[in-house]
């Protein structure tokens, strides 16, 4: 006995209520995410003793998301080959992963001049820190450690061991020309730069594949 239509598996269906129109499938309100993320940060903050420990906890929270997002996107895109080249996986992250998670591609992908093994993904308006003001006594903390965990998860799942850190860098005058996504908030003073540092074996492997 065979069925004429293939039943859609749970991986094919977007999460969230269907029947609300094609625009809002798979989308959650920003406020809901902001409150949930704020609680996540507060939960960890009450249990750690240092800033770096808090960042590490946020990163490991994002790590699981990264692994699953990689599998889901690879499955949905029906790719028959997996990415083995460095630039390809970085492009995949800065466009596909960003688009499916945040609705837009990352603002830029750069290669560091000083270090051959460092790359930077820049996002001018990361949603994890849209509403967050870090107090002065926690100066070094970046609330976007969650996103760097996501990037690290995707890279590890694809077989590229890397260390990803999030940094807030001040935006220069005239650097960002698009209007802010939140109309009643003032434009952001700093952007998030995710520094991706690959391990030596990954670079050696990529160089060997180049030949």
């Amino acid at each position: 006995m065979s069925r004429s239509q293939t039943p859609s598996s749970i991986l094919d269906r977007p999460i969230g209520r269907s029947g609300r129109g094609s625009g809002s499938e798979g989308m959650v309100s920003l406020s809901a995410f902001a409150y949930l993320y704020s609680e996540l940060v507060q939960y960890h903050q009450s249990r750690v003793a240092s800033i770096s420990e808090l960042e590490r906890r946020l990163e490991s929270a994002g790590y699981g998301v990264g692994l699953r997002v990689l599998e889901l996107l690879a499955y949905r895109a029906r790719e028959t080959k997996r990415e083995t080249r460095l630039m390809n996986i970085l492009h995949f992250i800065s466009s596909n992963v960003w688009k499916s998670l945040f609705g837009k591609a990352a603002d830029s992908l750069e290669r560091s001049i000083d270090h051959a093994d460092e790359f930077m993904i820049v996002d001018y308006e990361p949603i994890t820190s849209t509403f967050v003001s870090v107090p002065a006594d926690l100066g070094q903390l970046s609330a976007d450690a969650y996103i760097s965990g996501i990037i690290a998860g995707v890279l590890e799942g694809a077989g590229f061991t890397a260390r990803v850190t999030a940094h807030s860098v001040a935006v220069e005058e005239g650097e960002y020309t698009k209007p802010p996504a939140m109309p009643n908030l003032p434009p952001r003073k700093d952007k998030a730069v995710f520094l991706v540092k690959f391990s030596r074996e990954v670079l050696a492997r990529d160089a060997a594949l180049e030949r």
Partner: protein
Amino acid sequence: GIEKIEAGGIVLCCLQTRTGVKFVITAEPSTPDLDLMLREIYVLYSDCALKDPFYELEMPIRTDLFTSAVDALLERFDSRGTKVR
């Protein structure tokens, strides 16, 4: 609850939310749209203060985002006021 008090040379306007939070603003007597401004400040409060993991409830709000957003709001209202006249 208290909505508006007009006294010698000063106007005090108050917005009370359903959750019990009170927003009080003092201004010169001729300022228009005070309750509209209070509503906007309520929106900014729920955005910048409540979604910030480092803000504790009942404490004075010291977040940069909130203060700069309120400043920008006041500037917008100021420029709108001069255009009307």
